[in-house]
């Protein structure tokens, strides 16, 4: 018989051997022990049951408390969350795993025009513009779904408001996983303003503020693209550079506001002169460029011509008529593979060539222009040096009274005694002087020297009161603010009477800005200085204006005089009508460039008052001019 371990021990303790039987005394002791064991078992069970019951109750209480507190906490958290979401400036939208809207904050309501209740449960793609955007939205969600962990992505999409209007939005979406459930949270920003600013900035970055034309950067970009296309399709790309002649003067004399208005008007004309696909750009100042994509060299030249013509038309700015001339350079990549820099550089060179060759014209790039330009640059720096080193000398050409045969006056003509090139003619350096502005100090130098020279001659000829001196005045000089003072000072310092000074101005100088020119001319007349219109007939021979200028002399351009020899009939008619015109306006008419006696005779017959030209004398140094005067006083007549 297998006894319970405890009972066996109890029996052993009491010295009972079950096989031997139990004594009466032993039985009582055993029963006491067994009873105690039962009591212990009862107590144990009591404790276990009680503790089980109490701990169950406690756990239940804890659970209830937790639930109560978490419900309250959840509700307050929900409220708090809601107010946080509503206070956010960004639209915050949460969606379930299939992209259906669950929450929609106040900013989102404002942004899209829907209330949270209205969009509840709707597909988020309804908030986006149809078509590819919605595909992109679903792709965005799909991309997020693919990710294993929480992640974010940002996209710029087009949102759709309740009224159907669209607006740009930036969306940062993130996927939240909570166990099995997934939620999307999208943070939406209305970026309309930013996009608008961006576009404005981009436009600003690539366009010229003043004219609205493309700027250098955009031109450069388009040129790069055009050249890349050109390489693929073997098409020609041409670039035209246009520079306004004398714009600086307009700016200085009429003010920047007028200058700006003029530039805007120039830009407008350029736009009309080119095809739709072409790009007109302002590179800065008065420099413009036009990119002609896929244009033959002939088409490019035609465009240059059109532009030149369109800019020749007078501009009307603030009630003023302004005449503008331009120098235009054309270059293309027809013959050479060029990159953008090279092509721009060639157009620039061609433009300088146009300036050098007399302005108001266009030139197509030729390789030798580069050398010419280099030489020009060299001359420019030499010219500055020349002014300092007194390499500029003045030659004098006499003007002969065609009735008396006497020397009426001398025209002062500047020459450059270049240390290595020898004597350089005005045609080779006056344009450079004008470009660099050196023309003003040069002009001042010539004026002073010529006046002083005349005073010298007059001192030796007290009985010849008529001898005068003609000095050329360039447009820049006339517009120079100090010009009047210069003339006044020179007359005072040399003691020359104003009427012995004849200032020669070209037609284009007179016409460049009538109002200012009128003022200046009026002031000069007040001083007593006499005025001549030089090279008459070469420019816009605006006879109407001629009447309004207070001039004394009209100098017929040498080309008309030449015509007399070349096409006697037509030439004569022309010359006679000009002379007649001059006389009608009470002007003394002077003919330039008389080279032979036929011309002289014709001009005399036509009533021309004064002649000038190689037939009488070339321009000569002062000493030789003095000799001419000596000969005259000795009675030696010139033919």
């Amino acid at each position: 018989m297998e006894l319970h371990r405890l009972l066996a021990r109890q029996l052993r303790r009491l010295g009972i051997d079950p096989a031997q039987g139990i004594g009466a005394g032993q039985l009582g002791a055993l029963l006491t022990r067994v009873s105690a064991t039962y009591e212990e078992a009862d107590q144990d069970r009591y404790l276990v049951e009680r503790s089980l019951e109490i701990s169950t109750r406690e756990m239940r209480q804890l659970y209830d408390e937790l639930e109560r507190s978490s419900e309250t906490a959840l509700a307050s958290q929900r409220d708090q969350l809601r107010s946080i979401l509503d206070s956010a400036a960004e639209g915050i939208i949460t969606m379930n795993a299939t992209g259906h809207i669950e929450t929609f904050n106040r900013a989102a309501e404002k942004m899209f025009g829907w209330s949270a209740a209205q969009v509840d449960g709707r597909d988020v793609s309804e908030l986006l513009i149809d078509g590819f955007e919605s595909e992109r939205a679903s792709a965005l969600l799909a991309q997020l779904i693919d990710r294993s962990g929480p992640g974010t992505d940002t996209a710029t999409l087009e949102g759709r408001r309740r009224d159907g209007s669209k607006f740009p939005i930036e969306v940062s979406a993130s996927l939240m996983r909570r166990g099995e459930a997934s939620k999307y949270v999208a943070i939406v920003r209305d970026v309309s303003e930013r996009v608008r600013l961006q576009q404005a900035l981009e436009h600003q970055a690539f366009h010229d503020d003043l004219t609205g034309l493309a700027n250098r950067a955009l031109l450069r970009d388009r040129l790069d693209h055009a050249l890349a296309r050109s390489r693929r399709h073997a098409a020609t790309v041409a670039v035209i550079f246009a520079d306004l002649d004398g714009f600086k003067m307009i700016n200085d004399t009429l003010g920047h506001d007028t200058g700006d208005l003029l530039l805007a008007e120039v830009a407008r004309r350029l736009r009309y002169s080119v095809r739709d696909g072409d790009t007109a750009a302002r590179l800065g100042g008065d420099e413009f460029a036009i990119l002609l994509d896929e244009a033959t060299p002939e088409e490019a030249e035609a465009a240059a011509h059109r532009i030149l013509d369109s800019l020749r038309e007078p501009f009307s700015v603030e009630g003023r008529e302004i005449f503008v001339r331009s120098s235009i350079g054309v270059a293309d990549n027809h013959a050479d593979a060029l990159d953008a820099d090279e092509l721009l550089c060639r157009a620039d060179i061609a433009m300088y060539a146009a300036k050098a060759r007399g302005r108001d014209r266009y030139e197509v790039f030729e390789p030798q222009m580069q050398a010419e330009l280099a030489a020009r640059h060299e001359l420019q720096s030499d010219l500055r040096q020349a002014l300092r080193a007194e390499e500029l000398v003045i030659h004098y050409q006499p003007l002969i009274n065609l009735d008396s045969g006497r020397i009426e006056s001398f025209e002062a003509l500047v020459r450059w005694n270049h240390p290595t090139r020898g004597l350089v003619g005005p045609n080779d350096f006056i344009p450079i002087a004008e470009e660099t502005g050196l023309i003003v100090p040069i002009g001042r130098h010539v004026l002073r020297a010529a006046c002083a020279q005349l005073m010298g001659w007059r001192a030796g000829r007290p009985d010849d009161d008529e001898l005068a001196i003609g000095v050329n005045v360039s447009s820049q000089q006339l517009h120079d603010a100090h010009f009047l003072a210069d003339v006044r000072d020179t007359l005072r310092e040399t003691g020359l009477a104003a009427r012995h000074l004849v200032l020669e101005l070209t037609e284009s100088t007179l016409l460049s800005d009538t109002t200012l020119v009128q003022q200046r001319l009026g002031a000069l007349k007040t001083l007593g200085v006499r005025l001549a219109i030089d090279d008459f007939g070469t420019g816009y021979s605006s006879l109407a204006y001629l009447r309004t200028f207070p001039v004394d002399f009209l100098k017929i351009d040498r080309t008309f005089v030449n015509e007399v020899s070349r096409q006697p009939d037509q030439g004569r008619v022309m010359v006679r009508s000009i002379i007649g015109l001059g006389h009608n306006l009470s002007l003394t008419v002077i003919a330039e460039g008389i080279e032979d006696t036929d011309q002289l005779n014709e001009l005399r017959d036509a009533g021309c008052n004064i002649g000038q030209g190689y037939l009488f004398a070339r321009p000569v140094p002062p000493e030789a001019a003095s000799e001419l005067l000596e000969e005259q006083s000795l009675g030696v007549t010139t033919r």
Partner: protein, 384 residues
């Protein structure tokens, strides 16, 4: 090493002649009924029989020899070493605040080049066992095995004593130090209690005095669980020891048992610290798990003194078992099941002596010595 055990019972006297193993290298451990404070002749006789030996002993909540528990008795275990240096020390301790210092003083007194083990017997009521263990561990090197137990007073928690100078004295800590290459000391400590109910936050406590759990008086919680048995406080609180965790993420667990209750302050005093901010959970016992724990503790202690290659080398082993009074209270008449279970796991031939205590000292895992509650803790001693 030679071993011997003796038992003295009222009326019957000594089970056999005592003192045969007395020498300078003899260790004597003795565990006696608290009532021996008033009947000192068996203790006197013990000291007389072992004049040269190093004796440590204390009052208990029941002492046992081999597999048999006896009350009212004095149980003695003796071991005479051949080539192990033995030292002993007895240090008075004024209050629980003195515990750490007492530990360090004790360890310094036992300092030896080749110290291998320290066996401590401490007053069970006026000592903070946790601090005592920390004090000792702060001095001795990591590889010194520190074990022992706190004296007890039945289920009365009134007054405990140690055997000092041949008589019972309260307010002492005693220890024996074993030094030398040949001594082997093993240890094992297991509980076998199960946690139940909610985990509670220690909202108010001071050192080893616990006031509140989750803002409720701790004593109130104990009372509600004990029901009718609340009248038996503080002893019946032993039925529900506390499992403590330092913080929420820490798995390391200590078990604390009640030493006293204060109705006025609604507080409970435990055998070790119950830090504020730690997590506490009630535990309860299951007979089989307690017995199994005792068996496992003995198995662990036995392995450490058993030659791996010669498991049946018949080496004499003295096992000193210290089990918690709480376990005795739960096990009731089945208390001998755990004593027997422990004894059965010891190597042959082993002698086991032991007692029911107010606290056990033993390394926790591989770490330093700590105070344990509600465990069966064994120290095995052998000499090779």
């Amino acid at each position: 090493m030679e071993t011997a055990t003796h038992g003295w019972e009222p009326g019957a006297g000594w089970s056999e002649p005592i003192g045969a193993l007395d020498s300078d290298t003899t260790v004597v451990v003795a565990f006696g009924d608290p009532a021996l404070r008033d009947r000192t002749d068996p203790v006197r006789e013990l000291f007389d029989a072992y004049p040269r030996s190093h004796i440590v002993g204390c009052s208990t909540s029941g002492q046992f020899r081999d597999a048999t528990l006896s009350d009212g008795s004095l149980i003695v275990g003796a071991a005479r070493f051949e080539s192990t240096h033995v030292a002993s020390v007895h240090i008075p301790i004024g209050s629980a605040d003195d515990s750490f210092r007492a530990g360090t003083a004790l360890a310094r007194a036992l300092a030896h080049d080749d110290l291998r083990a320290v066996f401590v017997v401490s007053d069970g009521l006026c000592v903070n066992g946790s601090e005592l263990a920390r004090g000792i561990s702060s001095v001795v090197s990591e590889d010194v095995v520190v074990t022992g137990g706190l004296a007890a007073d039945g289920d009365r928690f009134d007054s405990t004593w140690l055997m000092i100078d041949g008589g019972p004295r309260s307010g002492f800590v005693s220890a024996i130090g074993l030094s030398g290459a040949r001594v082997q000391v093993g240890h094992g400590s297991r509980g076998g209690w199960d946690k139940f109910g909610p985990e509670r936050f220690v909202t108010r406590s001071e050192a080893n005095v616990l006031y509140e759990l989750d803002g409720r008086p701790a004593l109130e919680i104990y009372r509600s669980y004990l029901g009718d048995l609340a009248d038996g406080l503080p002893a019946t609180a032993l039925l529900f020891p506390l499992a403590l965790r330092d913080d929420f993420d820490d798995d390391k667990q200590l078990v604390r048992t009640v030493l006293a209750v204060d109705e006025a302050a609604q507080s409970m005093t435990f055998a070790g610290d119950v830090p504020e901010g730690s997590f506490a959970q009630l535990m309860h016992a299951n007979f089989d798990r307690l017995v199994g724990g005792a068996s496992d503790a003995a198995g662990a202690a036995a392995r450490m003194v058993t030659d791996r290659w010669l498991p049946d080398s018949h080496r004499d082993t003295l096992a000193i078992a210290v089990s918690c009074v709480g376990r005795r209270l739960v096990l009731g008449q089945r208390v001998e099941d755990e004593i027997e279970a422990a004894f059965d796991r010891l190597p042959h031939p082993s002698r086991q002596v032991g007692f029911y205590s107010y606290g056990e000292l033993s390394p926790a895992g591989d770490g330093p010595c700590e105070l344990h509650n509600q465990t069966m803790t064994l120290t095995t001693i052998a000499e090779v």
